[in-house]
């Protein structure tokens, strides 16, 4: 057996049935073995499509995504996608080819030091110089990607290691017994959390991506039922708690919902579950909720006290923590008595709904609302990055588990289309709705070819404002309306572009066509691209100016014509 065959056999044993990738010189042996295996390979049209595809697949399934690329440019084309997965903690195993061991360091053809390049953006990486190291490296890498806080792991394999023949030793992964000394035991921190919740008058739960990663959605629902504590969510936590009435108050942060941000700034105890207090949530972390007792639960100890002060840091998986906390609360007959606070929160919800004006031109929010209204069941909702992403976060009530896929940490334009493709492969037979922009869509548009080839049920809505909307908005608000290089003076005909790839294309240009065009798109069984021409001047509101506090929102309140600070 050669090294390549061993790798493929290893992946088969781990239950991998799908790999995204792009072949090339250094991985010919790997592809030779792959082509004779049971594993399905998705040939994307760019390596970036492959890594985002594996990312989308990993996020909707909770399984590890696998991605192959060749040496040099093949590997460097993955970098954005690896960084994206790292910041959003998606488990991905990346296998790249490398020039032969004897050629390393000689600036050989298609040589790049991908281990050196990716060091800051992977959970771990390896250069396998000896054939005999393959079993142990694969076993460890597979475990590292999934264990604890998930993340991307890269294995760089030289050409001669793929080709080398050996009797491979059995490798068994033994998790390192490296207890990081905790100042306080989990039991003790649970007791402190119970005490804090007992004292609390205005408690709030902040649900983040860690709730999704640990599969704690149901448990959180039970916890809420028992404690009546209101919930807000981060962008990555969207969908962890359903957003119908009585569910999550919505997203907090820079473009969060008013009631959610007001609740955040007004709470006295914040139970933060699997969040990392990004600057898009905290503004200036030094002034973040100075009077609030923060209980911060995260599986990664390095997240605790990294950005904000934390009274009760808890190193734990969210699921384990909630199980223990709930049973402790039940044990002592905990009765919620947060009446006045709940009334206040309800008043905020009623007083400050999200607001936008309709008119002759289509508004992005109208399109999102209409899709949400018409779509049946609980689709997987995928976004690209920019204004439309925030509108979806605000307006689309996501339902079901692992059904909201977005580039949260890195903010990668071009993520949407290939991630939607990966999501469709991960959840066959389910509807996938993609919202993207005319900017981001053009960054990875080539993956329409894969959509057409497999007839993936992806409904792609391009919120087309002929500009880079978020850039334009910031130029309007913070750079005296100086629109430097953010407006597209020329763009493709997206309908024809879709058709050129063999994908159905539709155009939505008038408010009157809204319901009909969206119905036509959603009823089509295969992939569809809908070019939605929207008002270029629409801004995402409310907005907390950079460095501001959660209650310092600017927006249009109760139909005011001008933007003002919430009062």
């Amino acid at each position: 057996m050669n090294g390549a065959e061993y790798i493929i056999q290893f992946l088969e044993k781990k239950g991998v049935d799908l790999v995204f990738g792009y072949p090339g010189g250094a991985v010919l042996a790997l592809y030779d073995a792959l082509g004779r295996s049971s594993i399905k390979h998705i040939l994307t049209r760019h390596e970036q499509g492959a890594i985002h595809g594996a990312d989308g697949y990993a996020r909707v399934t909770g399984k590890t995504g696998v991605c192959f690329a060749t040496s040099g440019p093949g590997a460097t084309n993955l970098i954005t996608g690896i960084a994206n997965a790292y910041l959003d903690s998606a488990p991905i195993l990346v296998i790249t080819g490398q020039v032969g061991v004897d050629s390393i360091g000689r600036d050989s053809f298609q040589e790049a030091d991908i281990v050196g390049i990716t060091m800051p953006i992977v959970k771990h990486n390896y250069l396998v110089k000896s054939l005999y190291d393959l079993p142990a490296v694969l076993e460890e890498a597979w475990n590292v990607a999934q264990r604890g806080r998930p993340g991307p792991v890269l294995i760089d394999v030289p050409k001669n290691v793929f080709a080398g023949v050996a009797d491979f030793p059995e490798a068994v992964f033994t998790p390192p017994n490296r207890k990081i000394p905790l100042k306080n035991s989990l039991e003790k921190q649970i007791e402190r959390a119970v005490a804090a919740l007992r004292e609390a008058q205005k408690p709030l739960i902040l649900a983040g991506g860690g709730v999704v990663a640990s599969g704690a959605e149901d448990l959180l629902a039970e916890f809420r039922k028992h404690t009546k504590i209101p919930v807000v969510n981060t962008l990555m936590g969207k969908g962890a708690v359903p957003e119908e009435l009585g569910g999550s108050l919505g997203m907090v942060g820079m473009h969060g919902k008013p009631a959610a941000n007001l609740a955040l700034s007004g709470c006295d105890v914040l139970l933060a579950l699997g969040v990392r207090f990004s600057d898009r949530v905290t503004g200036n972390p030094q002034n973040f909720l100075p009077a609030t007792c923060i209980i911060h639960v995260d599986i990664d100890p390095a997240e605790l006290s990294k950005n904000v002060h934390t009274e009760i840091p808890v190193v734990s998986d969210v699921q384990k923590f909630l199980t223990l906390l709930l049973s402790r609360l039940k044990e002592e007959g905990f009765k919620p008595r947060y009446g006045p606070w709940l009334a206040q929160v309800d008043a905020w919800v009623k007083q400050y709904p999200l607001h936008f004006e309709t008119g002759d031109l289509l508004k992005p929010q109208q399109i999102i609302n209409e899709v949400a209204k018409q779509v049946t069941g609980a689709p997987v909702v995928v976004t690209d990055v920019g204004q439309h992403q925030m509108f979806v976060a605000q307006f689309f009530p996501v339902q079901g588990k692992r059904n909201f896929i977005t580039s949260g940490g890195l903010g990668t334009m071009g993520f949407g289309l290939p991630a939607a493709m990966g999501a469709a492969f991960g959840r066959p037979g389910e509807q996938v709705v993609l919202f993207t922009g005319d900017g981001g869509f053009q960054m990875t548009v080539q993956e329409l070819a894969v959509m057409a080839q497999y007839q993936l049920p992806v409904k792609a809505f391009i919120i087309n404002n002929s500009c880079l909307g978020m850039v334009r908005q910031w130029q309007e608000l913070f750079f005296k309306e100086h629109y430097a290089h953010s407006l597209f003076s020329c763009g493709p005909d997206f309908v024809k572009l879709a058709e050129a790839y063999g994908v159905k294309g539709l155009r939505l240009a008038q408010p009157a066509e809204l319901a009909g065009t969206i119905r036509e798109a959603l009823q089509h069984s295969g992939p569809v691209v809908v070019d939605c021409l929207v008002d270029q001047g629409e801004n995402v509101l409310p907005i907390i100016p950079p460095g501001g506090q959660p209650n310092e929102m600017l927006g249009r309140w109760r139909g005011e014509a001008h933007v003002s600070r919430i009062s």
Binding site: M119, K123, L127, R178, A302
Partner: protein
């Protein structure tokens, strides 16, 4: 405040770049870094001197602990330790000055390891205070070249 961290790592290729890279990208300042094998050939020890307040050092330790090859991180700043650095210094030493330098070096228990026509190379080991004092005492004679290692530390007693 300055902290001394003793970090045990697996002796594998790439470990040093993983650790050094971590400091660069998280914006921590390394004052000195010494790495070498330990009594166990599969384990290396990195002795790091880092500047930062408690919050920064806590983050540094946590981030180090996340590295796959890191076995153990010990903050030995407040321990009783034996600290050593090593210094090689080439000092201008004509016939007139030579005797004076040699006497000075006697006081510091330094060794002369090379003699040229107009210069000496002196080797010194000791804690940071001693090394600084040696450098100060030699400065008036004219230092032509100076090289020093970072600090290695060991906790006293049977720990």
């Amino acid at each position: 405040m300055r902290h001394t961290l003793a970090v045990l790592v697996e002796n594998r290729p790439g470990v040093l770049s993983h650790v050094a890279g971590l400091f660069a990208r998280r914006g921590y300042n390394i004052e000195s870094l010494v790495v070498g094998e330990t009594e166990d050939k599969t384990v290396s020890r990195i002795t790091l001197v880092v500047e930062g307040d408690e919050r920064v050092i806590e983050q540094v330790s946590k981030q180090l602990n996340k590295q796959i090859e890191v076995i153990k991180v010990n903050d030995i700043t407040n321990e009783q330790t034996v600290d050593r650095q090593m210094l090689l210094v080439k000092v201008t030493a004509d016939q007139a000055a030579r005797q004076e330098i040699l006497q000075l070096m006697e006081i510091f228990r330094c060794r002369v390891v090379d003699i040229g026509r107009r210069s000496l190379i002196i080797e010194a080991t000791g804690d940071e205070g001693k090394i600084e004092a040696v450098i100060q005492s030699l400065r008036p004679f004219g230092i032509k070249e100076l090289v020093r290692t970072g600090k290695v530390s060991m906790v006293r007693g049977s720990k």
